[in-house]
Symmetry: C2
Subunit: 448 residues, 2 copies
């Protein structure tokens, strides 16, 4: 029996379990339902014939699992997450976010696509092999964390501490979805990130702004410091910032040239006239994928309500997120930033690190990249859109840099599935395609 037949035969059971997982809230940002969801996921894995175990990490539990193959020595490590974003604002949901209503083959729920749908599709494909074929094509290890939506703060330590357990030949980060063109998509890495706050506190209290001639203003300090960090042409002026960047490989340039342009969609969505600097097409893609950034995510000082108040603030804070590309290292860049501010005369500005992730990169020639690509094309009847790396960030480096594995970031979520927004959804059709995609990945990875 092929995987599609098996799936159709057991579809009711599958959708029931999927809804059961969706109905269990697991909001890491608010610590709601996490433990319950981890236990439930373990039970669902066991139902599918997978050995599963809940690990109490320093943070939220990690659900680990294993399936042995009688056909191959190869081990594939699959990563995903069972935690979800908060559902706010609740009033905008057409169905309650944790009821998982199914209407005409569409399931609306928080986590439906990101990433409980992905998880369930993977489990089902493995179940098919275990129960119907009596062996998975390759050995599979499962690593489902409960902190992805809050930046995976404990994942690196967990992976470091369980190197042997997690030994594998390659990793699939199964948290992605289809390209807006409805073709499958595969990212061969992600950008890293260094998220900091610059804080300048100059006095105990705000004062009347008539003191401005003689009292230091922390908002001006932050403005001048920011100006020293990035110039109007977009260049980051911190010495050494670009030193470790690996030049774009020709194979990656070729991948970029094959990605459908996204500039018109962005322009339309944001209601803007054009992209920064008027870039278009492949040039815009190259910037999105290859350019390290210094982004002001938040800025706050003094009086920010309606109208006017003549106040000289005692504190100013800016949130900056720097996206990093291979081989930039957040710790080194943090030091460079500190030295830059010192050199520019901003010793009065404190830098607080709020988070960091290394960038990651897997070559297009890697077996898991090739296997995923073939599997995607076979499953969706369309060539996958392959990114040298995503414009966003994720904890992929724990696989590439800590475990030294090739790793691909892919998945079966529908395009525009409203992940992180109200009315997140999935469909039975996309889930079935996803199960097929997983089955094909396992089979293709077994081939050399």
């Amino acid at each position: 029996m092929d995987v599609l037949s098996y799936t159709k035969l057991t579809l009711e059971d599958f959708i029931g379990k999927y809804r059961c997982l969706l109905k269990q809230p697991s909001i890491s940002a608010k610590n709601v339902g996490i433990k319950e969801c981890a236990s439930l996921l373990r039970d669902l894995m066991e139902d599918s014939g997978i050995y599963a175990e809940v690990f109490q990490s320093r943070g939220n539990p990690v659900v680990y699992g294993e399936v042995e193959s009688k056909e191959s020595d190869k081990i594939l490590l699959v990563y995903s997450h069972y935690d979800v974003q908060p559902p706010d604002p609740l009033s905008e949901w057409i169905y309650p976010p944790f009821e998982a209503e199914v209407v005409d083959g569409k399931i609306v729920a928080r986590g439906a696509s990101d990433s409980k749908g992905n998880i369930m599709a993977f489990l089902k494909a493995v179940e098919y092999y275990v129960k119907s074929e009596k062996s998975a094509p390759v050995n599979v290890k499962f690593l489902f964390e409960g902190e992805e939506e809050i930046g995976s703060p404990n994942l690196p330590d967990f992976v470091e501490a369980h190197r042997d357990l997690l030994k594998a030949d390659a990793a699939v980060c199964w948290d992605g979805g289809l390209h807006p063109s409805n073709r499958p998509s595969i990212c061969l890495g992600v950008k890293g990130i260094l998220y900091v706050e610059l804080r300048c506190k100059t006095a105990k209290v705000d004062v009347h702004s008539s003191y401005a001639p003689v009292v230091i203003n922390p908002a001006w300090r932050i403005v001048w410091a920011l100006n020293s960090i990035k110039s109007q042409d977009g260049r980051i002026r911190v010495e050494g910032w670009y030193d470790d960047i690996r030049p774009l490989a020709s194979e990656d340039a070729k991948l970029i040239s094959e990605i459908p342009p996204e500039d018109e969609d962005i322009v339309k969505e944001l209601g803007i006239k054009e992209l920064l600097g008027g870039v278009r097409g492949v040039d815009a893609l190259r910037k999105l994928i290859c350019e390290p950034t210094a982004n002001i995510a938040g800025l706050k000082s003094g009086y920010i309500e309606e109208g006017s108040k003549t106040v000289l603030p005692c504190e100013a804070v800016v949130k900056l997120d720097f996206r990093l590309v291979v081989d930039q290292k957040p710790d080194k860049l943090f030091d460079l930033l500190r030295r830059h501010l010192d050199d520019e005369g901003f010793r009065d500005i404190e830098i607080v690190k709020l988070g960091s992730l290394l960038p990651s990169k897997t070559p297009p020639s890697a077996p898991i990249a090739q296997a995923s690509s073939r599997a995607a094309e076979a499953s969706y009847n369309a060539k996958p859109v392959v990114y040298p790396n995503a414009a966003g960030s994720g904890p992929d480096y724990v696989f590439t840099n800590i475990l030294h594995l090739d790793s691909v970031w892919t998945g079966c979520a529908p395009p525009f599935s409203k992940a992180h927004a109200p009315n997140e959804f999935n469909t039975v059709d996309y889930l079935i395609k996803g199960i097929l995609y997983v089955a094909n990945i396992l089979r293709e990875f077994k081939k050399r």
Copy 2:
């Protein structure tokens, strides 16, 4: 009977009426009790033997009054305000802000010093002349507005429209108080102000910061625009900004040299190490009094809560207050600022004017300046601290520039009386001294 004897004889009545005025909230920022307070003030003026009338201006009512003198043709115009600041935060008051509790000769209430105490002292001194002496030394016109705490938006129009009614020989802006050294203080002018918001709106919605390589960030635009407006040495870089500034007159330099230094008090209050650039003593005073400023009063963009969010904001706003010195003109400077932003490539940044006041200046030799100075010394047994102009702003220019009068800014509020803060207070002793000060001003102004 002298004014002190008269005051002591009628003290109970005076304090009763003062409390009555304090118990009537008149919060212009929230439009609470304004009309009621205007009517009450008119009644209190009539009780004191003053002709009084409530004028409905475009904004809050103006309470106008007149007292004729049998002894002089001279007319003194006295200005003050009956509106008060909001009392928040209420929890910090030791007594409710509108109960006006009197404990050991101290009255705690919103408006006790700023400026209902001032108003009541003035009325009482005039009452003394009218009722006990049968004539005021000079004619007095009263102009009490109800919008001072929200920037006097309708006062210029009212004064323009009532030039004949307000005809006078000089003005006293009776809204001040004593110097921290407990000596009386007189300001011969105020700084002007131009309060603007710079706004940069770039898109319909915030987006994920992974778009930073290709989507314009309004917070960076605001940072770069601000950097172009003021350099780190404090210099305002807008062309022509300093062109109209009148050089410091030698008589004003002399006044500044006689003011007690304030730097140590400021340093202590703010818990800072030193003033900006390490200035001290008379240098600090000269900067406070003479320097035009560009102050960031508020700055807001993107995500400003705790923690990290990877967002690229669609809007950034900065509130800027520029203090102006004679003869800078806010309308002209607004145009220069617009031109500056255009020239520097910031046509995408909107400037919204939230308020403006012209700077003002009366020479130390003006009769009202001399009369106030003599009256202050006679009343407080201490030479007044005389400022060429205040470091703060106020609507003094309606007297100096619209009515072309000499004008002084003075009053009888105690030092550190917590104006605008919780537990604002006054004392019976300071009020009595204030009544004496007013009586002396009127008498001294009658002399030439």
